[in-house]
């Protein structure tokens, strides 16, 4: 999931007195008020979005766009509750995990033709891999405005103090593998500090573990989403590896243990690069950003996505689609890219990215960001994801105990979710 930069804030009160402003323009056209639900309440984000709304107003004086920030943790629940209550927004951000639900249900207005009709929009430069999840029958239903790779942040000070090898040293020696990474994490973990943290996993959001198990060639279900593969060997191997890392090697914080990498309390964390903003500004530590280690199945990358869709139920869906087109055209995409990495090929070069990610070096941008976005797989999603997520979460709780029977637990999970996958 994209850009969780301290987004837990409540909605800024923006939607006041807008109709009056629209009347003031004395336009012969009907005033159109559009509302977009988002999960960011970051001031810098909102300023950028409001600038875009103002820019759109210049060519469409009758259109006013407002943003409603919903709390990140319960975003989809709040959005669907609004829809159920007959108060659907005109446009909404959508998580990659729930993309299938929104795209397949018919809740979204078809965007593809509308975007292609905009001069200079160049939708073709967005890779098919990035739009796959957001399309149905060849038509794009939501635009993936954020394509953010997962990477490893390392605290080199802590690692050296524990006498372990830093990721950089391992990469130079050609040994940046999961085994070696866990060795380093374990050495630090045994000093009483945290080893490796999968950020936001917390033994709830298991889909973030894809950052590890993709390296084992594992996935929770088959390519077509119909068959459960949690009980298959790649997945049980990966889960055994993670289990050992937690309970045997002390390389990862166990259930119920809270450790924060960005406060300097852990060796490494896996998260999206936008989290670089959480690095301490004062009394910091020497940090590094490196790609995910090589797994038994080879090298791989993982990305999280976020899309913007237009609700079919909106009375002004066509205008809203135009606004989405304006917001994500090449020029504005470059501006969005400072917070939300773009999947547009023309923006995927180190020079452009350097301007917007001053914290990262040229090498980091090339190896982590560009390679990640170009080759990365999106974290797992499915139609009916919330229910499947919850069932797998409950089933995996049996794995997160010291003497777990992984084969048995994974078989059980498959038994439970198989009917849901086939639905």
């Amino acid at each position: 999931m994209s850009n969780r930069i301290n987004l837990k804030a409540f909605a800024a009160a923006l939607a006041v007195g807008l109709s009056l402003a629209a009347i003031g323009t004395a336009s012969a056209q009907e005033a159109v008020n559009l509302r977009m639900t988002i999960w960011s309440a970051n001031e810098a984000h909102l300023k950028l979005f409001n600038d875009m709304a103002a820019g759109f107003k210049q060519s469409h004086p009758n259109v006013t766009v407002t943003y409603e920030s919903l709390p990140f943790d319960t975003y989809t629940t709040a959005l669907t509750t609004q829809i159920a209550g007959g108060n659907a927004p005109d446009m909404a951000w959508i998580f990659e995990t729930t993309a299938y639900d929104f795209v397949n249900s018919g809740a979204l207005y078809p965007l593809g033709d509308k975007l292609n009709a905009i001069q200079g929009y160049n939708l073709a430069e967005v890779s098919p891999g990035a739009t796959e999840r957001w399309s149905k029958g060849g038509t794009l239903y939501a635009y993936p405005f954020s394509t953010s790779p997962f990477a490893v942040f390392a605290n080199n000070d802590l690692i050296r103090k524990a006498g372990a090898k830093t990721p950089d040293e391992l990469i130079k020696a050609g040994e940046w593998t999961w085994d070696k990474a866990i060795e380093t994490a374990s050495t630090v973990g045994r000093t009483g500090k945290g080893g490796l943290i999968i950020r936001d996993f917390n033994y709830q959001n298991w889909q973030n573990l894809a950052a590890i198990w993709n390296g084992f060639g594992a996935s929770p279900w088959s390519e077509d989403g119909k068959n459960c593969t949690i009980g298959d060997k790649p997945m049980t191997d990966a889960l055994s590896f993670i289990h050992d890392a937690i309970f045997k090697n002390k390389a990862m914080p166990g259930p119920g243990e809270n450790v924060d990498f960005f406060a300097g309390n852990a060796a490494m964390t896996i998260t999206q690069i936008s989290r670089a903003s959480l690095l301490p500004k004062q009394n910091g530590f020497e940090w590094d950003l490196v790609p995910l280690p090589k797994g038994p199945a080879g090298e791989y990358a993982l990305i999280g996505q976020a899309g913007i869709g237009v609700m079919q139920s909106s009375p002004h869906a066509d205008v809203a689609a135009e606004f989405v087109g304006y917001m994500t055209n090449p020029e504005n995409s470059a501006k969005l890219a400072q917070f939300f990495p773009s999947a547009r090929k023309s923006l995927l070069n180190a020079e452009t990215l350097k301007k917007t990610n001053p914290l990262l070096s040229q090498e980091q941008l090339e190896k982590v960001v560009i390679a990640g976005i170009s080759n990365g797989k999106v974290i797992p999603g499915h139609t009916g994801f919330a229910q499947i997520q919850q069932m797998v979460r409950a089933g995996l709780d049996a794995v997160w105990t010291p003497n777990a029977d992984i084969a048995n637990a994974t078989q059980k999970i498959c038994g439970q979710i198989s009917p849901l996958l086939k639905r």
Binding site: T80, D101, G256, Q312, Q390, A394
Partner: protein
């Protein structure tokens, strides 16, 4: 047309009743709008399949009720709910009564203790639960204290049994003050002469408590038990903040399950069916308790 000879429409009796209805009108309107109407709507929704995203709302008759009977998760959920309610009611009522008896002494500074035990009641529920969430982490405050005493504490919220105990205890500590105050008021209204008579007859303190105190405060015990049981069936925030129904489904109580089905999985129809089930359970329990009162509760008149 003169009104002189006609009997007036607004007789005094009619005026009185009109005024009465006017006085209760706001309350009545509130109940109709916020209780009766939603209740009817929930029943109506429970007969439908409502796909929010696809914007479809189809009549499916009793299908959701059939689903309710066949739901493989439901027995476990009802089991957790019963366990939670039972644990909560037993612990809450006995602790509240114990505290009330202890605080019923006439000692200096007793008011401070009464305030202390009541104060969690006025604390915001979510804030209270979040703080307890921190304390109950594996490396949290409670295990830190236990370690100080040389005990290695369990991973409270991550093991099925301790997770259930944790949510019960957090809820009990939050609300025990309310029952305590009710008990305290009841204890203080027991006439002193009864105790005097018992002392003269040589009844020991425990016998006095069993034969005088308990019967005299039994109406309050009934009231608090109804409130506590109904309250325990509607616990949501603690579960949502502390365990999210886990580990496994060990703390997924009915209300939390209902929330998951309706708001997370978007099965509003089935969620409505579950809330009808909850309504029936609460109604039955309350009715049963009300019937019991005739046999157990003592009324002076």
């Amino acid at each position: 047309m003169s009104a002189g000879h006609k009997t007036q429409f607004w007789t005094i009796a009619r005026r009185d009743s009109a005024a009465g209805y006017l006085f209760i009108a706001p309350q009545l309107a509130g109940i109709v709008t916020f209780v009766l109407l939603p209740l009817c709507l929930v029943f109506w929704y429970s007969l439908h399949e409502w796909n929010v995203l696809a914007n479809t709302f189809n009549y499916t008759g009793a299908q959701n009720y059939r689903m309710l009977l066949e739901d493989p998760s439901l027995p476990a959920v009802l089991g957790s709910t019963a366990l939670f309610s039972l644990g909560l009611v037993v612990l809450n009522m006995s602790l509240a009564l114990l505290l009330a008896v202890l605080l019923n002494q006439k000692l200096r500074g007793i008011a401070v203790f009464r305030t202390l035990f009541f104060s969690p009641v006025v604390v915001s529920l979510v804030a209270w639960t979040i703080v307890w969430g921190f304390l109950l982490q594996k490396n949290g405050g409670i295990n830190g204290m236990l370690l100080f005493l040389g005990i290695e504490g369990p991973n409270w919220l991550r093991e099925p049994v301790t997770a259930m105990i944790s949510v019960i205890v957090v809820q009990v500590f939050k609300n025990v003050g309310l029952n305590m105050i009710l008990f305290l008021a009841a204890l203080q209204s027991v006439p002193n002469e009864l105790y005097e008579a018992a002392r003269i007859d040589g009844a020991p303190p425990f016998k006095q408590f069993r034969r005088i105190t308990l019967p005299m405060i039994s109406p309050t015990i009934l009231l608090t038990s109804i409130i506590t049981i109904v309250g325990s069936l509607q616990v949501f925030a603690q579960i949502a903040v502390l365990t999210q129904g886990g580990p496994g489904v060990s703390t997924t109580v009915l209300v939390y399950y209902l929330y998951q089905q309706a708001f997370q999985f978007h099965f509003f129809g089935y969620g409505s069916t579950l809330s009808i089930l909850l309504f029936v359970i609460v109604a039955c329990l309350t009715f049963a308790q009300w019937q019991l009162r005739k046999r157990i509760v003592f009324y002076e008149n």
